[in-house]
């Protein structure tokens, strides 16, 4: 294992976060605060409780997942797309490092950034509403598993994309709607029966549901199914990344 190389990529990527601190940290904190004002204060005042949890507290796991998913994807996709765009990818490809080490460096840094953000969002939310974490281990598990999985997903998008438009395409057109419709701000029990069934096809629902369970022991679907779903998605992303490096897809000609 070339630890020095993994460390080099990791530190290099984390340095980007330091350079763009305002954009990386302040912006998500601001949007979370806005969500709390709009959903928590304005709408929340009309919805008292969901499954025994005050509405403001209920939306915290969903908001954290929203930020985690969006940031994991954008950090990782940009992290690998930028060297491709400016051509510095030649250095990574010609270095004595395996695909696993490249992924560890890039995805590790992207996931770390998302975890830092998730923690900041949690702290910000704590300023607005009371928060209880009944299963800290599982909360951490969902947090880390989601950050890693979606950073891997972002890494795949970054390799697939050959222009900036494609880089934004999936996060904007697929991920954001799935997160909003995956129960971030409501329980699916609040939907008509037909839409409840449709929502079950949304993979993000399982992540949010499992994550919320780790906070308040209330969930839309079984927590075992949530764990199985995130594991399945992680395995899928790992398989795709392995294939990319094996074939050199969009990296080598």
């Amino acid at each position: 294992m070339n630890f020095e190389a993994v460390k080099a990529i990791y530190i290099f990527e984390m340095a980007r976060m330091r350079r763009t601190l305002l954009q990386s940290v302040v912006s998500p904190v601001l949007s979370t605060s806005l969500y709390f004002i709009v959903f928590g204060a304005a709408i929340g005042s009309r919805i008292e409780e969901i499954n025994g949890v005050p509405y403001g507290s209920f939306i915290v796991p969903g908001l954290m997942m929203l930020t985690l998913l969006q940031n994991s994807i954008s950090n990782a996709s940009f992290g690998i797309y930028f060297p491709k765009f400016v051509g510095t990818i030649y250095e990574v490809l010609s270095a004595p490092i395996s695909f696993l080490e490249i992924v560890l460096g890039y995805v590790g840094a992207a996931a770390t950034k998302s975890l830092i953000l998730g923690t900041i969002i949690l702290a910000t939310a704590h300023l607005f509403v009371p928060i209880e974490i009944r299963h800290p281990f599982w909360m951490l598990f969902f947090l880390v598993a989601t950050a890693v999985t979606f950073s891997l997903f972002g890494f795949i998008i970054g390799i697939w994309a050959d222009n900036f438009e494609k880089l934004q395409l999936i996060p904007l057109l697929v991920v954001t709607p799935l997160v909003f419709l995956g129960g971030s701000f409501y329980s699916i029990e609040m939907l008509p029966e037909f839409w409840q069934k449709v929502t079950l096809a949304n993979p993000v629902l399982y992540l949010i549901s499992g994550f919320r369970w780790s906070f308040y022991e209330t969930s839309d679907v079984s927590v075992t199914v949530s764990i199985a779903m995130i594991s399945l998605f992680l395995a899928l992303c790992l398989g795709l990344v392995w294939w990319i490096f094996k074939t050199g897809y969009r990296l080598k000609v």
Binding site: A8, V86, E91, L93, S94, I97
Partner: protein, 309 residues
Amino acid sequence: MQHAISISRLSKVYDSGLAALQEVDLDIHNGEILALLGPNGAGKTTLISIVCGIVNATNGKVSVQGHDIISEFRAARELIGLVPQELHVETFETVWDTVSYSRGLFGKKPKPELIEQLLRDLTLWDKKDNKILELSGGMKRRVMIAKALAHEPKILFLDEPTAGVDVELRKDMWQLVRRLREEGGVTIILTTHYIEEAEEIADRVGVINKGRLILVEEKNELMRKLGKKQLTLELNDVLESLPEALGRYDLDLENGGERLVYRYDTQAERTGIGSLLADLNRAGISIKDLDTEQSSLEDIFVTLVEETR
């Protein structure tokens, strides 16, 4: 004897159907400076990219100090440094960070004193905290070289290192290349359009055209074998036409009849100069001055490439 790089029957066909390399065989000796010459699209960069792991070969084998570039890619790549043709740099990084990053990427522990020395050697020390976007093109090229040398490679690829750089930087680079070879025993492979570059610093010259390696030869030997000389004779009196007695010589009358140019093969048993001078004397043609000139590597290169068209 183990070669620095051994390339055997290497071919590359791109998805577009372009055969960039065709059955290339090449052994690169340890510690030599090899110049690869060839016109645009000849396959020079593809060859380098395959050895460095950036492009997949279609067929053939490459080993670096005996390490196969696929099955023993770590051992092979550790030995190689690459300065690509294009200026690929992380615009928002500082010079120090980007060079240190390159060392880490190749699995080497940080060695600030080495990075400092490199930056000083490349006159980049006072720019070490500057972001790369603040540097000129020439400075960026120096950063690329520092990055390639940061992990102390034993083999260095320079792909068109002096394309678009000023004379001063070009001379600096030549000096650096010589020093790397003399002090560190580094094997250097450079591709270039500038024949004078190959003529100046290379030990051997390889000529690639249309994906085929036409020849690889010691530079001096190549010039000796393929080099032609020409003897220029300035005449005292204008000559209207060549006398019949001189018909057996390869002569041209130039400059309105004031100059005779005689081309001869340096490898021939007899150059014919003695008899030409005697015949000129016999024909009553008197000579004011004479000069000889050997064809340059450029002439040889152009001839070779044209022959394979």
